[in-house]
Symmetry: C2
Amino acid sequence: MLPKKLSAQINKNHPWAVNTLKKYLSIPSVSAQKRGTRESVRFLTGILRQCGLKVRVIKTKSGHPPVIYAEKTVNPRAKTILFYNHYDVQPAEPLELWTTPPFKAAIRNGKIFGRGASDNKGNLITRLNAIKSFHDAGLELPVNVKFVLEGEEEVGSRSLPLFMKKYRKMIAADMCIWELGFHDENGRPKLSLGCKGIIHTELTTRTTRTDLHSSLGIIVPNPAWRLAWALNSLKGADERIRIKGFYQHVRRLDRLDRKVVRQISFDEKKKLKELGLKKFVLGLKGKALIQRFYYQPALNINGLIGGYQGKGNKTVLPKEAAIKIDFRLVPNQNPTDILKKLRRHLDREGFKDIGIKDATGYPPARTPLNNQYVKLVAEAQTKIYGKRAMIEPLFAASGPMYLFTPLMPCFCEGVGHPASNIHAPDENIYLKDFLLGAKCIAEIMNKLGGSKI
Amino acid sequence: MLPKKLSAQINKNHPWAVNTLKKYLSIPSVSAQKRGTRESVRFLTGILRQCGLKVRVIKTKSGHPPVIYAEKTVNPRAKTILFYNHYDVQPAEPLELWTTPPFKAAIRNGKIFGRGASDNKGNLITRLNAIKSFHDAGLELPVNVKFVLEGEEEVGSRSLPLFMKKYRKMIAADMCIWELGFHDENGRPKLSLGCKGIIHTELTTRTTRTDLHSSLGIIVPNPAWRLAWALNSLKGADERIRIKGFYQHVRRLDRLDRKVVRQISFDEKKKLKELGLKKFVLGLKGKALIQRFYYQPALNINGLIGGYQGKGNKTVLPKEAAIKIDFRLVPNQNPTDILKKLRRHLDREGFKDIGIKDATGYPPARTPLNNQYVKLVAEAQTKIYGKRAMIEPLFAASGPMYLFTPLMPCFCEGVGHPASNIHAPDENIYLKDFLLGAKCIAEIMNKLGGSKI
């Protein structure tokens, strides 16, 4: 139960938090464009110190943004929370679709708009507001806190694996609150316990020296046909991926998984209408649909490349073609293992000519549903937001969480909502959530501090 | 046997022919760019009259280039040859790949270069040279001659069907010499007796209102997967087209077909090397390869459209995708029938969502191998070019020949060679062939005039 004094202090600090977020949003920290790193580091080290934390700026590989590490130890025997956030954001383009400039925060209709508001600058400020409010109210922090703030999450967290290896001891904690989290369309807070893994790659093939007249297509192999057949060998209309051993490490749902699925609400009709779709794949509904979404790996086609793409016709037999694909992996699949199996599959099915180009990605990550702190975090959310927290086995997008879950449980908890427009124009959060978000973090700290576990 | 006097006259007229071709090549008659129609009509009516022909310029649909019709009747009871040519050419782009400007004829290494030299301005001038030479040598033409010259062959001969219907009687003849023809890499003249038909179209599908994040791909249908599966249902790696009834009207090879296949020479090794290819489809060689090339219909993929096509990765689930395809049809397949069967196939296989967009094309055309004049034309070629004519059942590309073959046999005979670069930069013909081409036409006329058939 949040002390009244603390709750009042968070209310009192709300204008400070809004103001701080506005300043933070004004920094164009676009890692893809190598912008705003220095400004971000200067701003964050200042704020972190203002909140009473010890700060280190840790260099990474040459040319990569540093990791900012901060901590406040109140008692070596107290529990410790680690906050993972990133100070970089997605590019703001297309700029013309923003109602107000992306790097000039604006408040409209109870929301604050700006690139990064939801992903994930707003969340960092709620965390700092919680810590600052304990201090300002004259209360001791109930837990030790640590922050790992990286600057290149949006471009693949290239430096983080080495950092995590090197500073494994320094960042040790009882739990990690992940960079972001969401509420559903009815304001029900979500607690996501993992991330799907991902592999990006391009299947490529080339047949002839040059493009040819398509009259030769009757005797000369066509690279686009090769890819169509290869794709079909990978997945048929039954949506099952045919790579041998692909599902080998996919966890079967246990009793707890099934219990979690039951408490997930998903407004199918509303979603179908929003998508302009008649039905989901395989006509799935209800529990089966939810199970598929959270527990099944996917193979997506992202792009088609080859031949003539202009208006009208061109009777060309292209010399080469490519298909951009991504795999979405679930615990305990491993990208390296899947790539090996993909190569073996293509070879075995007669597609030795098809290359697997520039494959990159992340493994999946998972906090077990029966982790001791799941209930604690969910109860804090339920109490603060006034709606029962919805536990999600994982978050459908991908991230570097796999570097943390071997060390501690990770919880996605934050102030996003379904129309937060992350990675899109007019990114925003509700100011109301921004205030409650700080209280929720304070509640989690309080509970963990008093936890007898 | 060509009279010496006539042969000498053709030699004597060669400079006139070269000069006339140079002027003709300087007219940028690019139908796709609506250029050069008036200039072509003025030039051709002048030359045709100079060669003693009666000329009519026949208007077609508004906005379309006219058909030029010309004739010379020497004797109503004599045999008649119709020459089909077109005065339009392909666009010359990319201009930077031409050694000399495309619309300024240039002579280098015994060849004349210019857009249309081989397809098909050079051929028209050989035909006119033959007729003019009879006249200049004081010899009567052994046959009546007619010319149909259209101005939009390169953009689909849109006005020709109506013209052919309306002037069916006027253009009646015993045979048609088609616009163009080729020699093989060893200088062996080819006699092609038909054209494959063609259908161009685009298979399209759309699933959602907007592009989505690919994490939704596990439950939202992907249009590119729909197309991959549809393509696979259309043709598998055995290269057999699976549309029900697709092969229903394909002629089986008879004894004569097999005889024709035997006299076709094709340097597989050379072609494979040129293409940068290890083997032809299905590993075919020899007669089986030749039979497939001339007697089998094809389904080609010309282009792939959809999703992200740039560098690197984008985890997008595209809202729509499309595949540009062409069918190459053989006698007696019919485009309308095939399109119906394609639609029925897609519906039956569960692809009602896949559209068949902007389908256009030509039916195939065929002069029977046992036509009475095949031997006559082949013998003329063999005599003039000094190498045994190679009879091809058809020409692998497509054209409006189907409008003529119901009325008369059509023969592709002309002065192109394998490196003529039709539809490409540095289009050219050999001057030597340009001279012999006129003699070959004269020989054909002579033989037909004396023919007792």
